[in-house]
Point group: C2
């Protein structure tokens, strides 16, 4: 069963259990999924400030995009737990002979790489939703600006949580080129998200800021 198909109380119990998955990586994707859903709600509320067909189209596109991002993040909740389980499985491989050791080390490196790519995707999904928040902030119902801001908080928390998971895995990866590329990518995604967040906040109705 997908994590997201569980009742939320059962999902919380799974996070609380001493099993390492689901852990912080899946929780980060979850946070982003809720944040993107809040933005989709604001884009769907009656009495939007969008007046012209053009603006209505942009708001409808933002709604659709945030909905699909929240579904992407739901899938990434499972992917992150699977990736972590892959790392644990690789560490448990036999290390008797030199050949064993070499095979194990190469499987560990491959698994760590997968466990890095997944939170990078979570970061990308959160960044995309945050960049779409500008249209929601500018064109959505003016009374829902706190929902836009809460959505941004949860998306930024998801993005930063995913970045911590990128960093922790990179700490054990030996291919320096990959480490450098992934580090630069994570830094860039966070910077893009932060400017997207600020752009969206500037577009919220002044009375609610």
């Amino acid at each position: 069963m997908r994590l997201a198909d569980q009742r939320f109380v059962d999902l919380l119990a799974a996070f609380r259990s001493p099993d390492p998955t689901p852990g912080g990586g899946s929780a980060s994707a979850l946070s982003g999924a809720v944040g993107a859903s809040l933005l989709a709600m604001v884009a769907a509320l009656p009495k939007p400030r969008a007046q012209h067909a053009d603006d209505e189209g942009r708001l409808a596109a933002a709604r659709e995009s945030c909905t699909s991002i929240s579904e992407r993040l739901v899938a990434l909740m499972d992917r992150d737990s699977e990736a972590y389980d892959g790392v644990v499985a690789a560490f448990r491989l036999p290390k008797g002979s030199d050949q064993d050791k070499q095979a194990r080390s190469s499987r560990i490196q491959e698994a760590l790489r997968q466990a890095t790519e997944t939170p990078l995707e979570v970061m990308g999904a959160c960044r995309d939703a945050i960049q779409g928040a500008a249209d929601v902030a500018a064109l959505g119902n003016a009374n829902a600006s706190s929902d836009v801001e809460v959505g941004l908080e949860l998306l930024m928390a998801g993005l930063r949580g995913a970045k911590l998971n990128v960093a922790i895995n990179l700490g054990s990866i030996k291919y320096q080129d990959y480490v450098d590329t992934a580090t630069a990518r994570a830094t860039q995604l966070e910077a893009e998200a932060e400017s997207g967040r600020q752009a969206a906040l500037r577009l919220l109705p002044a009375s609610n800021r």
Copy 2:
């Protein structure tokens, strides 16, 4: 049915729907519940750094406290939506006669107060979990520090999201004494949470920072 008794995918669909509840207030409580659950998980992991009975007791107490805080936040998810529905219901009361108008205005003020108290409780619950994070950071399994950090991110996002909901409701409350007291309380809770977060981060094993 409690919000948290729904499957997580259905809960996301409820956040995305154009109905105003559940909205940002319930989403903030949700984020805090996941954050507190991650801290409870780290406190429960094998190979803690707690060595003495005293430390083991502190870690067990942190686990129990984070578990109970996450349950408090689950209840607050519903309470926040009910409080918002109460505000909407009060605004829909008749306003024909002067007596109607006065009764309606007093019901609105009472409902807004309830809609302010609930996110203040969410802030308090998140602050409590963040203050408990120090013991988890200092005594929990050293390999789970990214889970502690993600937990703190989600708890801070929940706390800040709740603070936005306090502010939006206070904007319509007429009793200045209450506005001043609640504003001061929210500011204090955020400050206490922020120092708790920093204290916990300082106690994480250096290799993972």
